[in-house]
Protein backbone atom coordinates (compact mmCIF):
# COMPACT_ATOMS: atom_id res chain seq x y z
CA UNK A 1 0.00 0.00 0.00
CA UNK A 2 1.57 3.29 -1.05
CA UNK A 3 1.37 6.35 1.17
CA UNK A 4 -1.25 7.75 -1.19
CA UNK A 5 -3.54 4.74 -0.99
CA UNK A 6 -6.41 4.91 1.46
CA UNK A 7 -7.88 1.52 0.64
CA UNK A 8 -6.42 -1.47 -1.22
CA UNK A 9 -8.09 -4.52 -2.73
CA UNK A 10 -7.89 -6.76 0.38
CA UNK A 11 -9.56 -3.99 2.41
CA UNK A 12 -12.26 -3.52 -0.23
CA UNK A 13 -12.97 -7.26 -0.38
CA UNK A 14 -13.20 -7.33 3.41
CA UNK A 15 -15.85 -4.58 3.27
CA UNK A 16 -17.71 -6.29 0.44
CA UNK A 17 -17.82 -9.52 2.46
CA UNK A 18 -18.96 -7.66 5.55
CA UNK A 19 -21.87 -6.10 3.66
CA UNK A 20 -22.91 -9.32 1.96
CA UNK A 21 -23.18 -11.03 5.34
CA UNK A 22 -22.41 -14.60 6.21
CA UNK A 23 -25.45 -16.04 4.48
CA UNK A 24 -24.42 -14.69 1.12
CA UNK A 25 -20.75 -15.34 0.55
CA UNK A 26 -19.55 -14.50 -2.94
CA UNK A 27 -16.15 -15.83 -3.98
CA UNK A 28 -13.81 -12.85 -3.91
CA UNK A 29 -10.57 -14.78 -3.58
CA UNK A 30 -9.60 -14.88 -7.25
CA UNK A 31 -8.37 -12.00 -9.35
CA UNK A 32 -11.45 -9.82 -9.06
CA UNK A 33 -9.82 -6.41 -9.60
CA UNK A 34 -11.30 -6.08 -13.10
CA UNK A 35 -14.46 -8.18 -12.63
CA UNK A 36 -17.68 -6.21 -12.96
CA UNK A 37 -19.39 -5.83 -9.57
CA UNK A 38 -22.69 -7.17 -10.94
CA UNK A 39 -20.90 -10.38 -11.92
CA UNK A 40 -19.69 -10.68 -8.33
CA UNK A 41 -23.30 -10.35 -7.16
CA UNK A 42 -22.96 -6.75 -5.96
CA UNK A 43 -25.74 -4.54 -7.27
CA UNK A 44 -25.92 -0.76 -6.92
CA UNK A 45 -27.53 -0.93 -3.46
CA UNK A 46 -24.85 -3.26 -2.09
CA UNK A 47 -22.15 -0.95 -3.47
CA UNK A 48 -23.86 2.10 -2.03
CA UNK A 49 -23.68 0.36 1.35
CA UNK A 50 -19.94 -0.31 0.97
CA UNK A 51 -19.31 3.26 -0.16
CA UNK A 52 -21.29 4.58 2.82
CA UNK A 53 -19.02 2.66 5.20
CA UNK A 54 -15.86 3.93 3.48
CA UNK A 55 -17.09 7.53 3.70
CA UNK A 56 -18.02 7.16 7.35
CA UNK A 57 -14.85 5.33 8.46
CA UNK A 58 -12.44 7.59 6.59
CA UNK A 59 -14.28 10.88 6.81
CA UNK A 60 -14.23 11.50 3.06
CA UNK A 61 -16.91 12.56 0.58
CA UNK A 62 -17.15 10.63 -2.66
CA UNK A 63 -18.71 11.98 -5.83
CA UNK A 64 -22.00 10.10 -6.35
CA UNK A 65 -21.75 10.06 -10.13
CA UNK A 66 -18.16 8.81 -10.07
CA UNK A 67 -19.17 6.01 -7.69
CA UNK A 68 -22.12 5.06 -9.91
CA UNK A 69 -19.80 4.90 -12.93
CA UNK A 70 -17.31 2.59 -11.17
CA UNK A 71 -18.16 -0.87 -12.45
CA UNK A 72 -15.15 -2.80 -11.10
CA UNK A 73 -13.12 -2.95 -7.87
CA UNK A 74 -10.22 -1.26 -9.70
CA UNK A 75 -12.46 1.64 -10.78
CA UNK A 76 -13.95 2.05 -7.30
CA UNK A 77 -10.50 1.98 -5.65
CA UNK A 78 -9.43 4.72 -8.06
CA UNK A 79 -12.43 6.86 -7.10
CA UNK A 80 -11.80 6.36 -3.37
CA UNK A 81 -8.04 6.89 -3.46
CA UNK A 82 -8.09 9.90 -5.75
CA UNK A 83 -10.72 11.52 -3.50
CA UNK A 84 -8.50 10.82 -0.48
CA UNK A 85 -5.48 12.39 -2.26
CA UNK A 86 -7.53 15.43 -3.22
CA UNK A 87 -8.65 15.91 0.38
CA UNK A 88 -5.08 15.59 1.62
CA UNK A 89 -3.89 18.27 -0.82
CA UNK A 90 -6.75 20.56 0.18
CA UNK A 91 -6.03 20.06 3.89
Amino acid sequence: MSVHTLIDLPELTRLLRECAGEEEGVDLDGDVLDTVFMELGYDSLALLQVVGIIQRDHGIELDEDAVAEAETPRALLDVVNSAARAERIAA
Partner: protein, 356 residues
Protein backbone atom coordinates in the same frame (compact mmCIF):
# COMPACT_ATOMS: atom_id res chain seq x y z
CA UNK B 1 -42.81 -32.04 -11.40
CA UNK B 2 -45.70 -34.48 -11.22
CA UNK B 3 -48.17 -31.63 -11.65
CA UNK B 4 -46.83 -30.92 -15.11
CA UNK B 5 -48.56 -32.44 -18.10
CA UNK B 6 -45.57 -33.28 -20.26
CA UNK B 7 -47.84 -34.07 -23.21
CA UNK B 8 -48.76 -30.41 -23.39
CA UNK B 9 -45.16 -29.25 -23.61
CA UNK B 10 -43.55 -28.47 -26.92
CA UNK B 11 -41.41 -31.39 -28.13
CA UNK B 12 -38.08 -29.58 -27.66
CA UNK B 13 -38.89 -29.13 -23.99
CA UNK B 14 -39.52 -32.79 -23.33
CA UNK B 15 -36.70 -34.30 -21.37
CA UNK B 16 -36.35 -36.73 -18.51
CA UNK B 17 -37.04 -35.33 -15.07
CA UNK B 18 -33.66 -36.52 -13.99
CA UNK B 19 -31.43 -34.27 -11.91
CA UNK B 20 -28.33 -36.37 -12.09
CA UNK B 21 -27.61 -37.58 -15.59
CA UNK B 22 -29.86 -35.32 -17.64
CA UNK B 23 -29.07 -31.99 -19.24
CA UNK B 24 -28.84 -28.86 -17.12
CA UNK B 25 -32.32 -27.41 -16.52
CA UNK B 26 -33.06 -23.80 -17.30
CA UNK B 27 -35.06 -21.61 -14.90
CA UNK B 28 -36.06 -18.16 -16.16
CA UNK B 29 -35.90 -15.16 -13.82
CA UNK B 30 -38.23 -12.43 -15.13
CA UNK B 31 -37.71 -8.93 -13.68
CA UNK B 32 -40.46 -6.40 -12.95
CA UNK B 33 -40.89 -2.69 -12.16
CA UNK B 34 -37.58 -1.00 -11.43
CA UNK B 35 -35.64 -3.01 -14.02
CA UNK B 36 -36.77 -0.81 -16.92
CA UNK B 37 -34.31 1.50 -18.66
CA UNK B 38 -34.36 3.53 -21.86
CA UNK B 39 -34.01 1.41 -25.01
CA UNK B 40 -33.93 -1.82 -23.01
CA UNK B 41 -33.29 -4.78 -25.38
CA UNK B 42 -34.02 -2.45 -28.30
CA UNK B 43 -30.91 -3.75 -30.08
CA UNK B 44 -32.70 -7.09 -30.54
CA UNK B 45 -35.74 -5.46 -32.11
CA UNK B 46 -35.59 -5.89 -35.87
CA UNK B 47 -32.55 -8.18 -35.71
CA UNK B 48 -33.74 -11.13 -33.60
CA UNK B 49 -36.78 -12.62 -35.40
CA UNK B 50 -38.54 -14.37 -32.49
CA UNK B 51 -37.98 -11.37 -30.19
CA UNK B 52 -39.25 -8.89 -32.79
CA UNK B 53 -42.33 -10.96 -33.57
CA UNK B 54 -43.23 -11.31 -29.89
CA UNK B 55 -42.78 -7.59 -29.12
CA UNK B 56 -44.85 -6.66 -32.18
CA UNK B 57 -47.64 -9.03 -31.08
CA UNK B 58 -47.78 -7.34 -27.66
CA UNK B 59 -47.68 -3.79 -29.05
CA UNK B 60 -50.26 -4.56 -31.76
CA UNK B 61 -52.65 -5.78 -29.06
CA UNK B 62 -52.28 -2.34 -27.42
CA UNK B 63 -53.47 -0.57 -30.60
CA UNK B 64 -52.56 3.10 -31.07
CA UNK B 65 -51.08 3.23 -27.55
CA UNK B 66 -48.78 0.37 -28.63
CA UNK B 67 -47.42 2.58 -31.42
CA UNK B 68 -46.78 5.40 -28.93
CA UNK B 69 -45.01 2.95 -26.58
CA UNK B 70 -42.83 1.69 -29.47
CA UNK B 71 -41.93 5.32 -30.30
CA UNK B 72 -40.99 6.11 -26.65
CA UNK B 73 -39.02 2.86 -26.15
CA UNK B 74 -35.67 4.17 -27.44
CA UNK B 75 -36.50 7.88 -27.82
CA UNK B 76 -34.02 10.47 -26.51
CA UNK B 77 -36.95 12.48 -25.17
CA UNK B 78 -39.96 10.15 -24.74
CA UNK B 79 -43.43 11.71 -24.76
CA UNK B 80 -44.11 9.85 -21.48
CA UNK B 81 -41.18 9.07 -19.10
CA UNK B 82 -40.16 5.40 -19.22
CA UNK B 83 -40.48 5.03 -15.43
CA UNK B 84 -44.18 5.89 -15.61
CA UNK B 85 -46.48 2.90 -15.16
CA UNK B 86 -47.88 3.36 -18.69
CA UNK B 87 -44.42 2.85 -20.23
CA UNK B 88 -42.51 0.70 -17.73
CA UNK B 89 -45.20 -1.97 -17.35
CA UNK B 90 -46.00 -2.73 -21.02
CA UNK B 91 -42.36 -2.54 -22.12
CA UNK B 92 -41.15 -4.77 -19.28
CA UNK B 93 -43.89 -7.27 -20.08
CA UNK B 94 -43.07 -7.17 -23.80
CA UNK B 95 -39.31 -7.56 -23.27
CA UNK B 96 -39.56 -10.34 -20.64
CA UNK B 97 -42.10 -12.28 -22.70
CA UNK B 98 -40.19 -11.77 -25.96
CA UNK B 99 -36.90 -12.93 -24.42
CA UNK B 100 -38.68 -16.07 -23.20
CA UNK B 101 -39.97 -16.64 -26.73
CA UNK B 102 -36.45 -16.05 -28.10
CA UNK B 103 -35.11 -18.92 -26.00
CA UNK B 104 -38.03 -21.21 -26.94
CA UNK B 105 -37.33 -20.51 -30.61
CA UNK B 106 -33.77 -21.71 -30.08
CA UNK B 107 -34.88 -24.91 -28.40
CA UNK B 108 -33.89 -23.62 -24.95
CA UNK B 109 -37.18 -24.18 -23.17
CA UNK B 110 -37.26 -23.50 -19.42
CA UNK B 111 -38.03 -26.16 -16.81
CA UNK B 112 -39.21 -23.54 -14.30
CA UNK B 113 -40.18 -19.86 -14.17
CA UNK B 114 -39.82 -17.23 -11.43
CA UNK B 115 -40.95 -13.66 -11.99
CA UNK B 116 -40.31 -10.63 -9.78
CA UNK B 117 -43.45 -8.51 -9.37
CA UNK B 118 -44.93 -7.87 -12.83
CA UNK B 119 -42.49 -10.47 -14.19
CA UNK B 120 -44.87 -13.13 -12.89
CA UNK B 121 -47.45 -12.07 -15.50
CA UNK B 122 -44.92 -12.72 -18.29
CA UNK B 123 -44.24 -16.09 -16.64
CA UNK B 124 -47.98 -16.82 -16.62
CA UNK B 125 -48.23 -16.26 -20.37
CA UNK B 126 -45.09 -18.31 -21.14
CA UNK B 127 -46.57 -21.13 -19.03
CA UNK B 128 -49.98 -20.95 -20.73
CA UNK B 129 -51.90 -19.80 -17.64
CA UNK B 130 -53.12 -16.72 -19.53
CA UNK B 131 -53.51 -16.25 -23.28
CA UNK B 132 -51.36 -13.43 -24.61
CA UNK B 133 -54.30 -11.33 -25.82
CA UNK B 134 -56.09 -11.62 -22.47
CA UNK B 135 -52.89 -10.79 -20.60
CA UNK B 136 -52.23 -7.67 -22.67
CA UNK B 137 -55.84 -6.48 -22.41
CA UNK B 138 -55.73 -6.94 -18.63
CA UNK B 139 -52.38 -5.17 -18.49
CA UNK B 140 -53.79 -2.16 -20.38
CA UNK B 141 -56.71 -1.98 -17.96
CA UNK B 142 -54.38 -2.38 -14.97
CA UNK B 143 -52.24 0.52 -16.20
CA UNK B 144 -55.31 2.78 -16.51
CA UNK B 145 -56.39 1.86 -12.98
CA UNK B 146 -52.91 2.20 -11.46
CA UNK B 147 -52.39 5.58 -13.13
CA UNK B 148 -55.20 6.87 -10.88
CA UNK B 149 -53.57 5.51 -7.70
CA UNK B 150 -51.94 8.07 -5.37
CA UNK B 151 -48.44 9.18 -6.49
CA UNK B 152 -45.87 7.10 -4.68
CA UNK B 153 -42.75 5.10 -5.15
CA UNK B 154 -40.44 2.36 -4.00
CA UNK B 155 -37.28 2.52 -1.91
CA UNK B 156 -34.52 -0.10 -1.91
CA UNK B 157 -33.02 -0.60 1.56
CA UNK B 158 -29.99 -2.70 2.47
CA UNK B 159 -31.62 -4.30 5.50
CA UNK B 160 -33.73 -7.20 6.73
CA UNK B 161 -37.39 -6.74 7.75
CA UNK B 162 -36.56 -6.55 11.47
CA UNK B 163 -34.27 -3.55 10.94
CA UNK B 164 -37.02 -1.41 9.38
CA UNK B 165 -40.08 -2.66 11.30
CA UNK B 166 -40.18 0.35 13.68
CA UNK B 167 -40.27 2.80 10.73
CA UNK B 168 -43.16 1.22 8.83
CA UNK B 169 -46.61 2.84 8.84
CA UNK B 170 -50.06 1.74 7.74
CA UNK B 171 -49.20 3.18 4.30
CA UNK B 172 -45.44 2.61 3.93
CA UNK B 173 -44.87 -1.13 3.99
CA UNK B 174 -42.41 -3.80 2.88
CA UNK B 175 -43.20 -4.23 -0.82
CA UNK B 176 -40.57 -6.85 -1.53
CA UNK B 177 -38.05 -8.99 0.34
CA UNK B 178 -35.37 -9.64 -2.29
CA UNK B 179 -32.64 -11.26 -0.21
CA UNK B 180 -31.50 -11.50 3.44
CA UNK B 181 -30.09 -7.97 3.10
CA UNK B 182 -32.29 -6.25 0.53
CA UNK B 183 -35.82 -4.88 0.84
CA UNK B 184 -38.05 -2.68 -1.23
CA UNK B 185 -40.33 -0.41 0.77
CA UNK B 186 -43.38 0.96 -0.98
CA UNK B 187 -46.00 3.59 -0.34
CA UNK B 188 -47.44 6.96 -1.29
CA UNK B 189 -45.62 10.29 -1.22
CA UNK B 190 -44.72 12.21 0.85
CA UNK B 191 -44.90 9.38 3.42
CA UNK B 192 -42.24 7.31 1.68
CA UNK B 193 -39.78 10.22 1.60
CA UNK B 194 -40.25 10.77 5.34
CA UNK B 195 -39.54 7.10 6.06
CA UNK B 196 -36.45 7.24 3.81
CA UNK B 197 -35.03 10.14 5.85
CA UNK B 198 -35.63 8.29 9.12
CA UNK B 199 -33.97 5.11 7.79
CA UNK B 200 -30.94 7.09 6.61
CA UNK B 201 -30.72 8.67 10.06
CA UNK B 202 -30.78 5.12 11.45
CA UNK B 203 -27.64 4.49 9.39
CA UNK B 204 -29.26 2.30 6.74
CA UNK B 205 -28.38 2.51 3.06
CA UNK B 206 -31.40 3.49 0.91
CA UNK B 207 -31.85 4.16 -2.79
CA UNK B 208 -34.92 5.18 -4.77
CA UNK B 209 -36.18 2.45 -7.10
CA UNK B 210 -37.51 3.52 -10.48
CA UNK B 211 -41.25 3.74 -9.83
CA UNK B 212 -43.77 6.56 -9.58
CA UNK B 213 -46.42 4.32 -8.03
CA UNK B 214 -46.35 2.58 -4.64
CA UNK B 215 -46.56 -0.95 -6.01
CA UNK B 216 -47.10 -3.74 -3.48
CA UNK B 217 -48.53 -1.36 -0.88
CA UNK B 218 -52.04 -0.42 0.32
CA UNK B 219 -52.04 2.62 -1.99
CA UNK B 220 -52.78 0.39 -5.01
CA UNK B 221 -55.17 -2.03 -3.27
CA UNK B 222 -58.36 -0.33 -4.48
CA UNK B 223 -57.10 -0.18 -8.07
CA UNK B 224 -56.33 -3.91 -7.98
CA UNK B 225 -59.65 -4.88 -6.39
CA UNK B 226 -61.48 -2.98 -9.14
CA UNK B 227 -59.97 -5.40 -11.67
CA UNK B 228 -61.23 -8.63 -10.10
CA UNK B 229 -64.32 -8.84 -12.39
CA UNK B 230 -62.10 -8.58 -15.49
CA UNK B 231 -59.88 -11.42 -14.26
CA UNK B 232 -63.01 -13.50 -13.62
CA UNK B 233 -63.99 -13.03 -17.27
CA UNK B 234 -60.85 -14.64 -18.79
CA UNK B 235 -59.75 -18.27 -18.99
CA UNK B 236 -57.05 -19.21 -16.49
CA UNK B 237 -55.31 -22.58 -16.84
CA UNK B 238 -52.87 -24.65 -14.76
CA UNK B 239 -49.27 -23.88 -15.79
CA UNK B 240 -47.62 -26.10 -18.43
CA UNK B 241 -44.21 -25.08 -17.08
CA UNK B 242 -43.83 -24.97 -13.27
CA UNK B 243 -43.94 -21.41 -11.86
CA UNK B 244 -42.46 -20.70 -8.45
CA UNK B 245 -44.65 -17.80 -7.36
CA UNK B 246 -43.00 -14.70 -5.96
CA UNK B 247 -46.17 -14.16 -3.90
CA UNK B 248 -46.31 -17.54 -2.14
CA UNK B 249 -42.65 -18.65 -2.45
CA UNK B 250 -43.94 -22.06 -3.54
CA UNK B 251 -44.68 -23.77 -6.84
CA UNK B 252 -47.93 -22.29 -8.12
CA UNK B 253 -50.77 -24.76 -7.52
CA UNK B 254 -53.48 -25.36 -10.11
CA UNK B 255 -55.99 -23.76 -7.71
CA UNK B 256 -53.87 -20.59 -7.39
CA UNK B 257 -53.18 -20.43 -11.13
CA UNK B 258 -56.89 -20.45 -11.89
CA UNK B 259 -57.91 -18.05 -9.09
CA UNK B 260 -58.82 -14.62 -10.58
CA UNK B 261 -58.39 -12.86 -7.22
CA UNK B 262 -54.84 -14.20 -6.86
CA UNK B 263 -53.82 -12.57 -10.16
CA UNK B 264 -55.83 -9.37 -9.75
CA UNK B 265 -54.37 -8.54 -6.33
CA UNK B 266 -50.70 -9.29 -7.10
CA UNK B 267 -49.61 -5.61 -7.51
CA UNK B 268 -50.89 -4.93 -3.97
CA UNK B 269 -49.27 -7.95 -2.30
CA UNK B 270 -45.66 -8.17 -1.05
CA UNK B 271 -43.13 -9.88 -3.32
CA UNK B 272 -41.20 -12.66 -1.56
CA UNK B 273 -38.50 -13.01 -4.19
CA UNK B 274 -35.77 -14.14 -1.79
CA UNK B 275 -37.90 -16.94 -0.35
CA UNK B 276 -39.11 -17.94 -3.83
CA UNK B 277 -35.50 -18.17 -5.04
CA UNK B 278 -34.69 -20.29 -1.96
CA UNK B 279 -37.59 -22.60 -2.89
CA UNK B 280 -36.57 -22.82 -6.55
CA UNK B 281 -32.93 -23.58 -5.79
CA UNK B 282 -33.89 -26.18 -3.17
CA UNK B 283 -34.86 -28.23 -6.26
CA UNK B 284 -31.65 -27.25 -8.05
CA UNK B 285 -29.22 -27.15 -9.58
CA UNK B 286 -30.61 -24.92 -12.30
CA UNK B 287 -29.07 -22.76 -14.95
CA UNK B 288 -30.77 -19.48 -13.95
CA UNK B 289 -31.37 -17.23 -16.93
CA UNK B 290 -32.49 -13.63 -16.45
CA UNK B 291 -34.97 -12.88 -19.21
CA UNK B 292 -35.40 -9.13 -18.92
CA UNK B 293 -33.51 -5.84 -18.84
CA UNK B 294 -30.43 -5.44 -16.66
CA UNK B 295 -28.99 -7.97 -14.24
CA UNK B 296 -30.70 -7.09 -10.94
CA UNK B 297 -32.10 -10.60 -10.40
CA UNK B 298 -28.82 -12.16 -11.58
CA UNK B 299 -26.93 -10.15 -8.96
CA UNK B 300 -29.29 -11.45 -6.24
CA UNK B 301 -28.93 -15.01 -7.56
CA UNK B 302 -25.14 -14.81 -7.82
CA UNK B 303 -24.80 -14.30 -4.08
CA UNK B 304 -27.35 -17.02 -3.21
CA UNK B 305 -25.86 -20.12 -1.54
CA UNK B 306 -27.57 -22.27 -4.20
CA UNK B 307 -25.26 -20.61 -6.73
CA UNK B 308 -22.13 -19.95 -4.63
CA UNK B 309 -22.13 -23.48 -3.20
CA UNK B 310 -25.05 -25.45 -4.66
CA UNK B 311 -23.98 -25.89 -8.27
CA UNK B 312 -26.54 -23.62 -9.95
CA UNK B 313 -25.28 -21.15 -12.55
CA UNK B 314 -26.44 -17.69 -13.62
CA UNK B 315 -26.61 -16.28 -17.14
CA UNK B 316 -28.29 -12.95 -17.89
CA UNK B 317 -29.53 -12.47 -21.46
CA UNK B 318 -28.75 -8.74 -21.48
CA UNK B 319 -25.86 -6.56 -20.31
CA UNK B 320 -25.90 -4.88 -16.88
CA UNK B 321 -25.25 -1.49 -18.52
CA UNK B 322 -25.66 -1.71 -22.26
CA UNK B 323 -24.06 1.24 -24.04
CA UNK B 324 -25.78 0.70 -27.37
CA UNK B 325 -27.78 -1.75 -29.48
CA UNK B 326 -24.74 -3.89 -30.29
CA UNK B 327 -24.32 -4.63 -26.56
CA UNK B 328 -27.81 -6.21 -26.51
CA UNK B 329 -26.92 -8.46 -29.45
CA UNK B 330 -23.51 -9.39 -28.02
CA UNK B 331 -25.02 -10.23 -24.61
CA UNK B 332 -27.65 -12.50 -26.15
CA UNK B 333 -25.03 -14.20 -28.34
CA UNK B 334 -22.78 -14.88 -25.35
CA UNK B 335 -25.70 -16.14 -23.26
CA UNK B 336 -26.94 -18.53 -25.95
CA UNK B 337 -23.42 -19.92 -26.37
CA UNK B 338 -23.36 -20.67 -22.63
CA UNK B 339 -26.81 -22.23 -22.74
CA UNK B 340 -26.77 -24.16 -25.99
CA UNK B 341 -24.46 -27.01 -24.94
CA UNK B 342 -26.38 -27.28 -21.68
CA UNK B 343 -29.91 -27.69 -22.90
CA UNK B 344 -29.94 -27.96 -26.68
CA UNK B 345 -29.79 -31.26 -28.46
CA UNK B 346 -26.99 -31.75 -31.00
CA UNK B 347 -29.48 -30.90 -33.71
CA UNK B 348 -30.53 -27.67 -31.99
CA UNK B 349 -26.93 -26.65 -31.60
CA UNK B 350 -25.95 -27.28 -35.17
CA UNK B 351 -29.00 -25.37 -36.32
CA UNK B 352 -27.97 -22.39 -34.18
CA UNK B 353 -24.37 -22.50 -35.37
CA UNK B 354 -25.51 -22.69 -38.96
CA UNK B 355 -27.58 -19.55 -38.44
CA UNK B 356 -24.96 -17.64 -36.50
Amino acid sequence: MSAVDTRARPPHDRRPDDDTGGPERIALLLPGQGAQRPAMAHGLYGTEPAFTEAVDEVLALLGAEGDRIRADWAADTPAVPLDHVSRAQPLLFAVDYALGRTLLARGLGPAALLGHSAGETAAAVLAGVLDLDDAVRLLAERIRLLAEAPPGGMLAVAANPGQVAHRLTDQVVIGAVNSPNQLLLAGPEPDLGTVAELLRADGLTCARAKATTGFHSPSVRAACAAQIPSFRAVTLRPPRIPIVSGYTARPLTDAEATDPVFWAMQPAEPVLFGAALDRLLADGPYHLVEAGPGQSLSALARRHPGVTRGGSRVTPLLAARPRGPEDDRAALRTAVERLAPAAGSTRDRSRFEARA
